[in-house]
Symmetry: C3
Subunit: 277 residues, 3 copies
């Protein structure tokens, strides 16, 4: 199955401005992958300015990786304002399940804000859906891992969560799942090296924001394309890494480099996308 | 026209300590370019310690990229204390024009603190001067872009803003403008790759802090030298990038690497500096 | 003298989860070196969640590099909770001596929390011990520098501070000192390039957290192994840098890369460790 064509080129033509309220661990990576993808990032988390910043932007990305009371309140304001203006919003529930504070934060965010896309690992999304935590920090727990055996169950689960929230759901992992209420996709791109650096998940959310912000993709297409773009860049970076040598820090640079050089045709040729329903 | 000689060497001989209150997006880049340039960075934003930290330092760099109520108050304290002690202060009005909060923040900073150097893109500086925003996030808007055609107007505008503030003004862009009330310079260094990564503007402010902090340059010379140093390093990094291959993440590394290897003689040979008045 | 064997392999087998409350300058480097070493990092500083996050983890790392009133309170909560649960805690007193706020912060932390390991440069540790500051920002001051001449005094001083605190003490520098109340070690690994980038000290603390968190090393062995691992990786990165060319930014990447490829046998072969008492 082929991805829709021309979406990356469209991002680069439009340079969508993205507002991030995100964690301070991977924020620089999120800014740089946004630029590499063709968007323009602005980070702003002061409660008294976030609504106004959001209103300048084509998409809002909320990531709770290092959320606190102050920035949660800013996320709620920005998210509600984005909803009012019809600006798409991405949620990355980083570490959901790991603490009551974080759990209440995502509960509140999901209650108060309509998210266009929710992107997390399987443990985080399971927590959001069932309220039962198997999260181990910010990584998916082994017991939750999606395999060929439990893939259909995971898709069904993601679809149900999409129905409940009205959001397109991306579950990132060795096998990625992307679904809305009506269609479900499986994507088999990416490389294990991607989990050796921090921030590849956060960067996926940023890239999803770019595809949404450029405005001509349906949310499901934006989610599939963004997930494929990250996976393909992971593969390209790894192929280059095998030629030049190096470890995770070099890989991270090559990943961002690859995004800046990715074209729609390479993306479509390499995406291993399967529509399941 | 030649840059003053020996200023880089002087920074490396003195290792000036720089106090930063800056955004969490590019803070690591600011720290590393400061080290590469020969300075020593300390980041501290707790209101109850900033005056004391500033008093240890040879320059203070304030960057409002992710400013909030708390850190704005710290910036004001640190800035006023620097003024009292005669320590030079750099302002980077990142994103000025983008929100009322940010606009009030820069208004307050400009009212309460005398800045030695103000460095921003054309849209930010225009906002500071006229109070009219054409800022699109943290990048200059296309309509504002300085070209050979409007260069003289831009210089006059920057000079007027310098007269009004008493600060040396750096307007960064494809063509850089540096001016105080009496002299105006145009610098034609740098490379478009510099806008493909986040932080090159912020790093320019850091480098300006290094030249100021080392103590033997007049503010105008510090501003011109710092702007030239960033531009020349952008060119050197790009030349290396063309040999080794890669994209923006590799470029960012090469930019910082280049600063660490830059010498006064290379800087003076490559700076394309023109005095206009 | 040889390091204990198998400790790195043990980290990679157990993937210890580490809770960081750390500065926003080098936080990304700390996360990536933790992953490269075999651990899994989670950064969380909201006071209402830190105890719960700590309780999920195998070690807690507190770094006061950009501490403020809010995060100090979170550090105290997390530290006390770690003590209650018997979870090892690392303190990095970044910039101790530079301001009253920072000095009171470390005083409070040392009073309220039992640290398994305290890691700092000589000026910071001297401040903690004597309450007299010669700190210049976040770097050791020249007058404090440990040389072959004052090495015995420095060891004795570190031992006394270890007796007073009950913590293993790591003094990082050109010559590293590691001591508890009964034994003292000198380590002669590392490279001057390590001080040309920000974060190598912070990363040492992160690596110490990995060795502690994996659970099978005595605190003194964890401290010695972590310090040796950072020093050896600094050397390996520098050797590679000499082959491929580049400056500090490239070096930083090679340092993290080296940690991901480091094995126990290389670590033991290259560690230049001497037991002094």
């Amino acid at each position: 199955m082929k991805l829709p064509d021309g979406l990356l080129e469209n991002i680069r033509a439009k340079t969508p401005l993205l507002h991030f309220i995100t964690n301070y661990v991977t924020v620089n990576d999120c800014a740089n992958i946004t630029l590499a993808c063709g968007g323009s990032p602005i980070m702003a988390d002061e409660a008294s300015e976030v609504a106004q910043i959001t209103s300048l932007c084509s998409a809002l990305v909320l990531n709770i990786g290092t959320v606190n009371e102050r920035t949660l309140s800013s996320m709620l304001r920005a998210g509600r304002h984005a909803n009012t203006l019809g600006i798409p919003v991405v949620l990355d529930p980083a570490g959901a399940g790991a603490s009551d504070f974080r759990n209440n934060a995502v509960k509140l965010l999901l209650k108060e804000v309509n998210f266009t896309i929710v992107r997390g690992n399987i443990s985080e999304i399971k927590y959001l859906s069932h309220g039962v935590a198997s999260t181990l920090g910010v990584d998916a727990s082994a017991e939750d891992r999606i395999t060929e055996d439990n893939l259909k169950d995971a898709l069904r689960f993601a679809q149900n969560f999409s129905v409940a929230t009205g959001s397109v759901i991306i579950i990132s992992g060795p096998i990625d799942i992307i679904t809305d209420s009506g269609s479900g996709y499986v994507l088999r791109n990416g490389h294990p090296m991607m989990s050796t650096v921090t921030g590849t998940g956060c960067m996926s959310g940023a890239v999803a924001g770019c595809f949404l912000g450029a405005g001509s993709a349906r949310p499901l297409d934006a989610a599939v394309s963004a997930t494929a773009a990250m996976g393909v860049c992971g593969e390209l970076a790894c192929e280059k890494l095998q030629r030049v040598g190096g470890g995770p820090a070099t890989f991270r640079n090559l990943l961002i480099d690859s995004m800046s050089m990715l074209t729609d045709s390479v993306l479509r040729d390499r995406a291993r996308l399967q529509q399941v329903f």
